[in-house]
């Protein structure tokens, strides 16, 4: 079974509020594949800081509005 990262994210919600932005469109703006966006959304892959900042910049929000690291 796939192991999930403890980091959670709000990318699905942010895409919805950005006019149902597609995963492919987000991937294009960041410069990764759609599969990578899917993996990040599902918590199967933790992106680099650079990609995390790029995602936040696309949605014009802070990093902590996109990614959360809950207390254990």
């Amino acid at each position: 079974m796939a192991k999930s990262t403890p980091i959670t994210n709000e990318i699905r919600t942010l895409r919805f509020h950005a006019g149902e932005m597609t995963q492919a469109e987000l991937a294009r703006q960041i410069g990764v594949t759609r599969q990578t966006i899917i993996a990040i959304e599902q918590g199967k892959y933790s992106p680099s800081l650079e990609v995390a900042f790029k995602i936040a910049r696309v949605f014009k929000v802070g990093l902590d509005a996109v990614f959360q690291y809950p207390e254990a």
Binding site: K3, R28, V32, T33, T36, A39, Q42, K44, E50
Partner: protein, 144 residues
Amino acid sequence: MPGFLESTTRAVALGTVLALGWYLLRVVPQIFNQPLDEISWKIEMVISLVVFIATLIADIIRAAIANRGELDQAGVVDDERDHVAERRGDAWGGHAMHAAAFIALMLLVFEFDPFWAANTLFVGAMLAGLVSSLVKLLTYRGSV
């Protein structure tokens, strides 16, 4: 649908299993039934490599056709998740290859028949490729 590099990694794993499986089925039974110098293995090794390369090329072409959209997309070539998978896979594959090379070296140092050194290197290289591919696929699935 998996991306281009994930598809080609699956192709490498499948090609390795097919080629190595065929080779072992042809050669291993001979080891128990005839002297080493009568075992037919060189041509089998070459055929196995040709089968592996042919399977790989066919699957790369198939993956390229299936992922045309992704490959056309500018700037996607440097996908960071691909790099992470490559790095982990190559590290594990490298360890396996080093182990095989060391065993083959010892076999030569202690003057075992060249059959054993050649086959240790061949099987070791194929297994190293398989380990590398499996680690990459596990990374893509988020299991590593």
